[in-house]
Amino acid sequence: MARFCMDFEKPVVELEDKLEQLKSLKAAGTGEIAHDIAELENQLERLKELIYKDLTAWQRVQIARHPQRPRVLDYINHIFSDFTELHGDRLYHDDPAIVGGLAHLEGDTFVVIGTQKGKNAKTNIKRNFGMPMPEGYRKALRLMKIAKKFNLPIITFIDTQGAYPGIGAEERGQAVAIAENLQFMSRLAVPIIAVNVGEGGSGGALAISVADRLIMLENSYYSVITPEGCASILWHDETKACDAAEALKITAEDLAKMKIADIIVKEPLGGAHRDVEKTYYILRKKLIDCYKELKTTCPNKKKLIEDREKKLNSIGRLTSV
């Protein structure tokens, strides 16, 4: 199967392909060939270190958008047990770009919500490329109301380019659907952990990310506008997206400095898609630890809401005249 390859990792992929070819030879286990394979494997490791260390913001955006990167349902299914998906906003529609339901993690019940992209042309059309409609945000809100009623903690997963830009979305109140989630999440007295696993596209991502802790995978990004959109405004040239990605400060590391991201989760070298099992394992452990820490730090609802308010109010930079 042909692999998707990002420009900057071409040398790695070429070397990997060569290695595969050598390994597939009949005499691969013997003599000179075995020696060559070992040598190439060594080279490959060094090359990967060289290329994947210190990625630029734009390279991380490309990894975050990688078509083979795990999708939100992959994370949910591998991290939680007994996931029971729930559907619909009870008003108009069931938006396939937002998934959610109830699930177990280490004996605790959670409300789980996330944006869902497809993995190929067909499933991407089904999932509307992970871009939610107002109905999706209202489904999320309905599930958060269940969390409130039954006092259940919430974990959300974010991977979206943004809320869907369309006529119907505007007619049915994309803006107010997002705003209502922001307000509800900011005052909801249950623990909320948000995990950005890929793309954090502006208000459409924020609408399910108001949380006590924001976890970002190492190669995820979170931005007020897409790098392409920013480049087209600033320089009337979308190909300058790499410069825009840099200027907007959208990486996990940048956002940790701004106190927007709380925890950065390391990915396998080259990105989550290069070792998905390891990624699920690491993130699962982080989620368990994070929830434990949050319960200890905020043992009651009052402290939880106070801390969340402080956290949100502290974000921003001011000077005075």
């Binding site: 809320a163 830009p165 369309g166 006529i167 979305a169 505007e170 007619e171 049915r172 109140g173 994309q174 803006a175 107010v176 997002i178 705003a179 209502e180 922001l182 307000q183 509800f184 999440m185 900011s186 005052r187 502006s202 208000g203 924020l206 609408a207 108001v210 979170y222 931005s223 007020v224 506008i225 959109g229 920013c230 405004i233 600033l234 320089w235 200027a247 907007l248 400060k249 959208i250 940048d254 956002l255 701004m258 927007i260 308010e309 949100l312 109010n313 974000i315 921003g316 930079r317 001011l318 000077t319 005075s320 005249v321």
Partner: protein, 277 residues
């Protein structure tokens, strides 16, 4: 009736008033006596078109004479990202300051409407497109706390292109901060009325103004989440006439009523009366 894209009108309205005694209405193209336009709060006396109105004039329009006291006027934006494009953010802030004589894109404070004390926040589109960065978010949040402490109705007038790109994620997070702030207004059972002027879009629309008890829109104001050009490019269709106008939103149930500037004070006062103020 075929109208040019409203987003283009916003750009034009920036240059609507040339120096001198006479000016041309961007809508009906008729020549208007400048002083008459100012007296009329920038509403065209010939066709009723609502032109850009500075925040200061909106305060005059809505509040009783000399009743306004500004709060947090000293807050100014830094340049947290050290943002450089063709024009640096620092330069944009400086120019916006000169053009509007404001420190930021919003003025907040208290005043009276027909003798009723209110907390009023008004955005100014000429300050970097009325965009919301750290300071606008902070001033809205502080105004909400101020209203809660003094038990005042909370009134906002919006004119904004959305989040301020030059502050990156710090500006996006102001959507959460301001939505939380007005959430507390609701918890305290205080009235919250928002007036959406031309334009109210993007991340600002998707936060505090949309959460009001009652939403009033100015006639023909552009109100929408995603810019028309982005939508057109995505769906590859022409948008219907009047898309994202105040009238379109009223039809789709997104705003309570449309009120011209001449009516706004009376309507707000009456609504506050219904709410026991």
């Amino acid at each position: 009736m075929s109208e040019p894209a409203l987003s283009k009108k916003v750009e034009k309205s920036k240059v609507v008033v040339p120096e001198g005694l006479w000016t041309k209405c961007v809508s009906c193209r008729q020549i208007i006596y400048e002083k008459e336009l100012i007296r009329n709060y920038q509403v065209c006396p010939k066709c009723g078109h609502h032109h850009y109105l500075p925040a200061i004039s909106r305060i005059e329009l809505l509040l009783d004479d000399a009743s306004f006291k500004e709060i947090n006027s000293d807050l100014k934006s830094g340049d947290p990202l050290n943002f450089k494009a063709s024009k640096s953010y620092k330069m944009s802030l400086k120019e916006a300051g000169f053009a509007t004589a404001l420190n930021e894109a919003i003025i907040t404070g208290e005043g009276k409407i027909d003798g009723k004390k209110v907390c009023l926040s008004v955005m100014d589109f000429k300050f970097i497109g009325g965009s919301m960065g750290s300071v606008v978010g902070e001033k809205v949040a502080r105004a909400a706390d101020f209203a809660i402490n003094k038990k005042l109705p909370f009134i906002v007038v919006c004119a904004s292109g959305g989040a301020r790109m030059q502050e990156g994620m710090l500006s996006l997070m102001q959507m959460a901060k301001t939505s939380m702030a007005v959430g507390k207004i609701h918890e305290n059972k205080l009235p919250f009325i928002s007036i959406m002027a031309h334009p109210t879009t993007g991340g600002v629309l998707a936060s505090f103004p949309s959460l009001a008890d009652i939403i009033i829109a100015e006639p023909k104001a552009l109100i929408g989440f995603t810019g028309a050009r982005v939508i057109e490019r995505t769906i590859k269709e022409r948008l219907p006439d009047g898309f994202q106008t105040a009238e379109f939103l009223l039809k789709h149930g997104m705003v309570d009523l449309i009120a011209s500037r001449a009516e706004q004070k009376e309507i707000v006062s009456q609504l506050l009366g219904f709410m026991g103020y």
